[in-house]
Amino acid sequence: MVMKPLALAAIAAAALAAATGAQAQSPTSTANFTVTGSAPKICAISGPTLTNTNLVNIDSLDGTTLKISQLTDSTSLSTLPASAEVSFDAVCTYAHTITIQSLNNGLWRDGSTQAPQNGFADAVPWTGRLQWGSLNRTFTFGAQNRQIQSYPFAVASPNAGQLLLDISIQAGSTNAVANGPLLAGNYQDTIYVTLEPQ
């Protein structure tokens, strides 16, 4: 008779434990949760803006088109110097590669695919400097051949902020002789800035 209520109590406790998942009667009980999520590898870059640094002989940045005011010297018909610094807001959340690519390997005259003739030039080299976090590199698109030219640079850690690209054309630089005259025409190059997670 004494045991019966004890037995009932034990059964009740066992049933309660089974219902609630409790391991044993205890004055303290805990429930543990975890919260998880992921942050994927992301690289993003905004459109370009023109800074006031090294701004020489530049008409405007129209959308994504950087317009040079005057490419040739009216007397020598050779290349006038020009330079600009273009800024991009950018982020990569992982180690990544930044690549600067020139579609023409220099500014080439529209329609020109042949080597310059009769002392005239039809392409203009340009040099660049890339500043991105701790990366500070220079490169040249020499206009020796009209071709795609790329410079990839590895960046070992995430980075966010302003990506600065300096573009510079030296006085008298051509794909023929130095200070040689340029053939009349429209000269252009297309630059691609690519950020890609490794």
């Binding site: 209520p5 609630t20 543990n32 949760f33 998880t36």
Partner: protein
């Protein structure tokens, strides 16, 4: 229960008395002998269990893939502990750890963070929910008390997600950001 024990005690006393009466035929009368029967209900608490779902708050992708910043609309579905019981006055406590990158363990570069803060709330047990903010060094509202036994569900909610260090920081890429929440019921207050 108290009445029931009394009845048992009376029955036992009668039985003992009857046995003593039988013995009295061969010896001097002794008794009646009282046999006290006592019981003790131990204090206990249980947080119960989840009746559906898991104990994992899976937030999925934490960042805006166009900016690398923490999404501003993270709101996971609450989880409910059913069958929580304390048979006496009790306290409920909630504690939490920030979500931290499990692979990217070095100090993040400038402009980045490897941690996400949030607020964990355990409600339903006390009038004032127990609240823990991982961004705070002290959390005075993390422990709440009630003066009576209670049985009822406890709802655990996570909210207020923010990048540790400031909202303009980006999260370093990592496949696993992990945080922990512990809800504790304790007898007494």
């Amino acid at each position: 229960m108290t009445k029931h024990r009394f009845l048992i005690a009376a029955t036992l006393a009668a039985a003992v008395s009857a046995a003593a009466g039988a013995a009295s035929a061969a010896s001097n009368i002794a008794g009646p002998v009282g046999v006290p029967v006592t019981g003790h209900a131990v204090t206990f608490c249980t947080t119960g269990s989840l009746t559906n779902g898991t104990t994992v708050f899976d937030l999925g992708v934490l960042t805006d893939t166009t900016t690398g910043e923490l999404k501003n609309n993270i709101a996971p579905v609450s989880k409910t502990l059913n069958g929580a019981i304390c048979n006496t006055a009790s306290t409920i406590n909630v504690a939490a750890q920030p979500m931290t990158a499990q692979s990217f363990t070095i100090a993040p570069p400038s402009g980045f963070s490897r941690s996400v803060d949030y607020t964990a709330t355990a409600s339903g047990w006390t009038t004032t929910p127990a609240v823990y903010e991982t961004s705070q060094t002290t959390n005075g509202g993390a422990t709440q008390s009630r003066n009576s036994a209670f049985s009822g569900p406890i709802t655990v909610t996570l909210s207020g997600f923010s990048t540790t260090g400031g909202s303009t920081l980006r999260l370093v890429s990592d496949p696993n950001y992990l945080g922990a929440i512990v809800v504790t019921l304790a007898a007494g207050n």
